[in-house]
């Protein structure tokens, strides 16, 4: 069966398409890409698709999922059809993103200090203080610039021309930015002619922005140019490629726990010349593992004594320890309230309506409507442990209902959104596939930095709404078109 860019029976016209309007005409700004897609010979595209895979394999851009069998150095599928966003759309999104990360950071400072938002009754106390992601070790700790989430990955989905929803806030160790950058590299290598005909906003400055941003949060005790390092769990971590990539592009050391040690309330790295002081640690491992003396005693990935130095301000850790409380799926429900509470502004980006089974009305509604809802574990991530109602069997729903009944507070549910689709190059030609977008927001002590674009993830299977790379999702290059870019907007 040959699929065309127009919606087919797999995707009823109810889905908004990023490129094609109802009736098959390209949307404004997408005309050139659409006609290129029609004219480009399929054979050539197949060859380029293979070339792209070879490039990824060769550069070593792999995503490892260990302990599940299969290829330990798996490639994330890459689609050669870019996803285009207009400058006006991006300007809107970036304003919303900036607003959201500001509120999230203020929330984190607040819950570890005065807890005004709890005292004002905006967020239930239990939801914060009883939460596993809330770390008492962080109470009263003052972090430089009041920044907790230095790098935020905010997952956005779209359901209509002007309908953008935040699906999830990632405030711990969001990954994927290396794919955003490498997707662009690969596209520029494979289809240079497309960049002549489109004014694509460059994303290359991300690593510089990141380093600049990290330097602004150096501890007050730091004199001169701060020493920044990337802390990785090592070779066997699924995002190890990204850790090396970022350290390399920033020109800083990529360290593992064994390379660091604590002495005289200072963190040092072991070098060929002896110890060297470290000021800022861009941490890419979970809080649990960073210090065996403070958290998991069995962690060999961490640095004994690190938490003490951190708490007393001798080193900055990014993202801040304990920041996970802000991306908890139950806390997510309250982000619009946070924006109103801390900034006294109306939220620019919408939340997906969310039911929390700890609330009686929601609990009943969820159990009665499992067939229509996506149910997630509050503590889950990466698309694991979900129930996608419309795609589930009766048995699966019954089994899941038992889990909800056993511990209602551990589950939230959302309506299945009509995620937008984007034409994607599949075996038989182009077909619409659902996409989301993860822009990366950098928060420094001085300002918020945002490169135009983000990582577009695409569900490679027809009809699937799951875009997570750990669930077989792929990625696309994301283009913000400059020709209509409103310079001086949110990015300035």
């Amino acid at each position: 069966m040959s699929e065309s860019p127009t919606p087919t029976e797999n995707t009823p016209p109810a889905f908004f398409d990023e490129m094609v309007q109802l009736g098959g005409e390209p949307r404004k700004g997408m005309e050139q890409l659409a006609s290129w897609m029609v004219e480009a010979p399929r054979d050539m595209l197949k060859i380029r698709q293979t070339e792209a895979e070879n490039l990824f394999r060769r550069i070593g851009i792999t995503f490892a999922v260990y302990g599940e069998g299969g290829d330990p150095e798996r490639l994330i599928p890459f689609d050669i059809v870019p996803r285009i966003l207009l400058a006006s759309e991006w300007a809107f999104m970036s304003r919303g993103l900036e607003q959201r990360v500001k509120a999230l950071n203020m929330f984190l400072h607040d819950v570890y200090h005065d807890r005004n938002i709890i005292r004002a009754g905006v967020i239930p106390e239990n939801l914060v203080l009883q939460n596993k992601a809330y770390l008492p070790e962080m109470r009263g700790v003052t972090v430089p610039g009041g920044v907790y989430t230095h790098i935020a990955g905010i997952d956005l989905v779209r359901t209509g021309a002007e309908e953008f929803y935040v699906l999830e806030d990632n405030t711990r160790t969001p990954s994927g930015v290396s794919y955003m950058l490498q997707n662009r590299e690969v596209m520029m290598r494979l289809f240079p002619e497309m960049f002549n005909s489109h004014q694509v906003a460059p994303v290359e400055r991300y690593p510089e922005d990141l380093l600049a941003s990290l330097k602004t949060v150096a501890p007050p005790t730091c004199e001169g140019d701060p020493t920044v390092v990337v802390l990785s769990p090592g070779l066997y971590n699924s995002a190890y490629y990204e850790h090396t990539f970022l350290a390399d592009k920033m020109g800083i050391e990529l360290v593992e726990g064994q390379d660091l040690f604590v002495k005289d309330n200072t963190v040092f790295m072991r070098t060929t010349q002896g110890p060297e002081r470290v000021d800022v640690i861009y941490k890419r491992l979970d809080d649990d593992f960073i210090d065996p003396l403070a958290f998991r005693a069995d962690s060999s990935l961490g640095v004994p004594g690190l938490m003490n130095v951190y708490r007393s301000g001798g080193v900055t850790i990014t993202n801040a320890v304990g920041g996970g409380i802000a991306d908890d799926k139950a806390i997510y429900m309250y982000v619009p309230d946070m924006i109103k509470f801390y900034l006294d502004e109306e939220p620019i980006l919408k939340n997906v309506p969310t039911y929390w089974c700890a609330r009686d009305d929601d609990y009943k509604y969820v159990l009665d409507h499992l067939e229509e809802l996506v149910v997630k574990e509050v503590a889950g991530s990466g698309g694991y442990g979900m129930l996608v109602g419309p795609a589930s069997t009766k048995e699966e729903r019954e089994a899941y209902a038992l889990r909800i009944k056993a511990d209602p507070a551990e589950f939230i549910a959302q309506p299945t959104l009509s995620l937008s689709t984007c034409p994607t190059f599949v075996a038989d030609g182009y077909a619409p596939r659902h996409v989301d977008l993860r822009p990366f927001v950098l928060v420094g002590a001085d300002k918020v930095r945002l490169v135009p674009g983000g990582l577009t993830r695409v569900a490679m299977r027809a009809g699937s709404l799951v875009v997570n790379s750990s669930q077989g999702g792929g990625t696309k290059d994301t283009w913000i078109l400059e020709d209509s870019l409103n310079l001086g907007g949110a990015n300035a």
Binding site: R57, R58, I59, G60, G234, L235, Y241, T244, F245, A247, D248, E253, L254, V255, E256, Q258, D259, M269, R270, T271, T272, Q273
Partner: protein, 316 residues
């Protein structure tokens, strides 16, 4: 730089160099084994001497009983469990580079990654007796490409110095070993030292380190053992001679020491070893016998390796 990074770079240098030298050693063995053996009415089996030169003899005998073309192929070229096989060298070089991706350039990483993928994807399954020479050429070419990527793209800083220290200390060891192959190869009965078989064997040693042309250029003379030894041990102009490779080890160690503003034990050892060679004559070497000389040399070179690891905290 991080000690762990320095150690990994040093081993990347050593393993890529070792892979190349293993290919060179196997090439000597292959060519020598093609010499007719008039007595036996066939060709000669010179594979045990190759196994000795590759420092793989004990492991090979234990696993396969005897050294012949088949067992050498499977143990020295292909065996992942033999830490000194070409397979293990290419894989370990790549793993070490992957662990320190930030310290090597993308061209270097891509050359190592390509090498491993090609080995693992093709050679591992297709390597047979009849394409052995193509394989050995391929290994040498891959090592050359890696060195080219390194020399063309890497900053001349501490990481570059460490990878070179590893490369040259490994090459020092291997040149000594390759030269020593000749000692382990027996002349057939009835053949005299200086006879045609002896001549052929020395020529093969030269060829294996790509020095046959250089020999003629330097000596304008027939191949004579003491001149071969002189070329591979004492000639400063020879890129694989002991005196040259040690000058490089010493040079890069000094760079590191100077950068650190101090003087390390390994610098002292390397300098001493190098200047002894620098002031030696070939007669000194042959006084106790070439084999004995090389034996002692290998012990001292090994001590130098240990001192490097200690000076820069390679063992965490």
């Amino acid at each position: 730089m991080l000690s762990r990074t320095a150690a990994s770079l040093y081993w990347v240098g050593r393993y890529m160099e070792r892979a190349e030298n293993l290919a060179r050693i196997l090439e000597v063995g292959y060519r020598m084994s093609q010499m007719p053996d008039l007595e036996a009415g066939g060709t000669r089996n010179e594979w045990p001497s190759s196994a000795v030169a590759a420092a793989c003899e004990d492991g090979l005998i234990e696993k396969h009983g005897e050294a012949n073309l088949d067992t050498v192929l499977s143990y020295i070229a292909l065996d992942p469990e033999n830490p000194s096989s070409i397979h293990a060298c290419l894989e370990t070089a790549r793993t070490n580079a992957r662990a320190v991706r930030t310290a090597v350039t993308s061209e270097m990483w891509e050359s190592l990654n390509d090498t491993w993928l090609e080995f693992n994807g093709q050679w591992r399954k297709s390597l047979k007796k009849d394409n052995l020479l193509s394989f050995l050429d391929w290994v040498k070419t891959r090592s050359t490409i890696f060195r080219g990527a390194m020399s063309g793209t890497m900053l001349r800083d501490e990481p570059y110095a460490f990878i070179n220290v590893g490369t040259f200390i490994e090459r020092t060891e291997n040149t000594a070993r390759i030269l020593d192959v000749k000692f382990h190869v027996l002349l057939p009965q009835g053949e005299s030292i200086g006879g045609s078989v002896d001549y052929y064997q020395w020529a093969t040693v030269l060829r294996s380190v790509s020095a046959l042309g250089s020999y003629h250029w330097v000596y304008r003379d027939a191949i004579k053992p003491w001149q071969v030894a002189e070329l591979l041990i004492l000639k400063k102009e020879m890129p694989r001679s002991l005196v040259y490779t040690l000058s490089q080890v010493s040079y890069y160690l000094n760079q590191i020491g100077d950068g650190h503003g101090r003087r390390y034990d390994s610098q002292r050892l390397a300098g001493k070893l190098h200047s002894e060679l620098d002031f030696s004559k070939v007669d000194d070497i042959f006084q106790d016998g070439l084999h004995e000389y090389l034996d002692k040399f290998l012990v001292r070179n090994n001590k130098l390796g240990v001192a490097i690891a200690e000076d820069f905290h390679f063992y965490l």
